[in-house]
């Protein structure tokens, strides 16, 4: 059975690889465009998937309301940018303030959602918390729909087109570049936070053993709140960036983006931070290549097919540990 899987895998990869190389040689620029588009998409997934994977790592909860936090980030940026734009503020100031407000608002929402919907269920069965998360997700969607509008709203890109980049902008636009660079910076900062700081160590300790963590003096509730806040901040950055890229938003954007990021997190191995980043990039790039070379209408079908395939053949994900051996 195992041998059969390997042979099947090699055969599939071989055929795809052969066809792929043929296509790439035929039109390398097109491939590059698709690849970089996929990288951009993957970066956004990564910014969202981090929140999923960190929260899962710490309290074993799939925070389905996380996509909504991302949407709230984009909404806040839109409101701030529109108001300040009307007042005629400098565009650089607008960019900075839009990001700051988006991050602060999303963090506040993330923090509050945890306190209201998950903390009271900390000792309840995991299914209860999951249902609470889905409820929170629907609540936030409808709340934003009622408070704002159900229409798509145009979102004028906050990131200017760089003039010097004009000749190459058909391969990668300045917005896409900004997304990739920002994501890299966020990843590095997050890596430093997790690896070297006191709160990062506390997070890792809490993820592994909550009782032991509290016994060495860690305030577990505070660590969990911090995790939600950090995850919300990265999601907010993702939200603003994607809104700049796509140019329009509505109250539902968090739903599909959240699901895709969830798939990415599962693909990489949920609970693992490098896994979430890797999974996001793999999903983003393969989605982009798929839509570019095959059928663009089946983009979402492709993503969910990947989810099903991972769940069948490698439930623990690319970098995930086997959960059975953990007990």
């Amino acid at each position: 059975m195992r041998l059969f899987n390997i042979i099947l895998g090699v055969a599939v990869v071989g055929v795809l690889g052969f066809l792929g190389i043929k296509e790439i040689i035929a039109d390398p620029v097109y491939f590059l465009e698709l690849f970089l588009g996929g990288l951009t998409r993957g970066s956004i997934y990564a910014l969202i998937a981090l929140g999923y994977t960190m929260v899962y790592g710490i309290i074993q909860l799939i925070n389905f309301a996380h996509g909504e936090i991302y949407m709230i980030g984009a909404m806040t940026a839109l409101i701030v940018a529109s108001v300040l734009g009307l007042w005629g503020w400098n565009s650089a100031v607008i960019v900075i303030l839009a990001f700051v407000f988006a991050i602060v608002y999303s963090c506040a929402y993330g923090f509050t959602v945890e306190k209201i919907a998950y903390k009271p269920l900390r000792t309840a069965p995991r299914l209860s918390a999951l249902i609470s998360a889905i409820g929170m997700s629907l609540f936030l969607q409808n709340y934003v729909m009622l408070a704002q509008t159900s229409e798509y709203m145009p979102f004028e890109s906050l990131i200017p087109d760089f003039e010097f980049w004009e000749p190459f902008s058909h391969i990668i636009t300045s917005v896409e570049m900004t997304i990739i660079v920002t994501t890299i910076i966020v990843m590095i900062l997050l890596g430093i936070l997790i690896k070297f700081t006191k709160i990062g160590k506390a997070m890792r300790a809490t993820a592994q053993d909550k009782i032991m963590a509290s016994l060495v003096g860690i305030n577990v509730n505070r660590v969990i709140s911090t995790t939600f806040v950090v995850g919300s901040a990265t999601a907010a950055i993702g939200g603003v960036l994607i809104a700049c890229h796509v140019g329009q938003i509505n109250f539902m954007i968090g739903f599909m983006a959240g699901l895709k990021a969830f798939i990415a997190a599962v693909l990489g191995g949920i609970g693992s931070i490098p896994g979430a980043v890797l999974g996001s990039l793999v999903l983003g790039i393969s989605e982009s290549l798929f839509t570019g070379y095959f059928w663009s209408e089946y983009e979402d079908v492709f993503a969910f097919t990947i989810l099903v395939i991972i769940l069948i053949f490698r439930p623990s994900g690319i970098l995930g540990r086997d959960t059975t051996s953990k007990v």
Binding site: K198, L215, I218
Partner: protein
């Protein structure tokens, strides 16, 4: 001598089961006290009650940290109990496996640091110095415990005896005045047990820390303890120095069974 831990009438109910029934135990400063009893007597429950893992159903847990007034700690959350100077280890090894030995100890040190989340992110000089001092202190603790050759190893890769010692090092890093050790010698070979014995005595004599331990290795308990408390079926049945406890008929009955029952 004034007790540094004073537990009065501690009762713990799990539904209808009385895991602990009006237990009185006090530990004095500079003492090595032992808590013994047959399996299921409620020893670990006792530790869980005083470290805030379970809130006790009834009774009072009081501590008197050196130079501080006596304070009641039952109902406090675990991390606050640790902050007030109680540290513990578990029956089974519960190290943070994905971290290095140094990180494991440093994490125990963190509750003694002042800087909060914001400072940790912005990293002003005061925070850097504090972090440096934490590294230095942790290294010093590892040196004392004799684990300094493993500093940058992953905790999970250490030999068994060393992992046990690392648990003690991590507990010490929280700067406790009372160390609660739950079966520290479990699974150790005679050599490791001997080293543990020396370590515990050394800790009492040099580190200004008193010790309360749960242990099944009677040889170790008898050689180490200044005072022994015996519990059985959640009730305290005896207390005294090793000689007194050894000759106490109640204790013998609890461990060996009543002769009349067997007959």
């Amino acid at each position: 001598m004034e007790p540094i831990l004073n537990v009065k009438n501690l009762t713990m109910n799990f539904g209808g089961l009385k895991a602990l029934d009006t237990v009185n135990i006090s530990v004095e400063k500079g003492q090595i006290a032992a808590l013994i009893g047959p399996n299921g007597a409620g020893k670990t429950t006792f530790f869980n009650c005083i470290t805030g893992i379970y809130p006790p159903s009834e009774g009072i847990v009081e501590i008197t940290p050196p130079g501080r007034p006596t304070q009641k700690i039952n109902g406090l959350k675990t991390n606050y109990v640790t902050e007030r100077g109680l540290a513990r280890t578990f029956q089974n090894i519960r190290l943070f496996e994905g971290m290095t030995v140094l990180e494991n100890v440093m994490i125990g040190r963190h509750c003694r640091l002042k800087s909060g989340i914001l400072k940790a992110m912005l990293r002003p000089p005061s925070q850097k110095n504090e972090e440096k001092k934490a590294v230095y202190d942790s290294y010093e603790i590892l040196e004392k415990i004799g684990l300094d050759q493993y500093v940058n190893e992953m905790a999970v890769n250490l030999p068994y005896g060393a992992q046990r010692r690392l648990e003690i090092a991590r507990a010490l890093a929280t700067n406790p005045f009372l160390l609660l050790l739950d079966e520290p010698a479990a699974g150790m070979n005679p050599q490791e047990t001997k080293e543990l014995d020396e370590l515990i005595v050394w800790l009492r004599d040099n580190e200004d820390v008193s010790i309360l331990l749960i242990e099944h290795d009677m040889k170790l308990v008898m050689s180490l303890s200044d005072n022994i408390h015996v519990v059985d079926y959640g009730k305290k049945i005896a207390e005294g120095n090793p000689e007194e406890v050894k000759s106490n008929p109640e204790v013998v009955k609890a461990y060996l069974g009543d002769e009349s029952e067997d007959a």
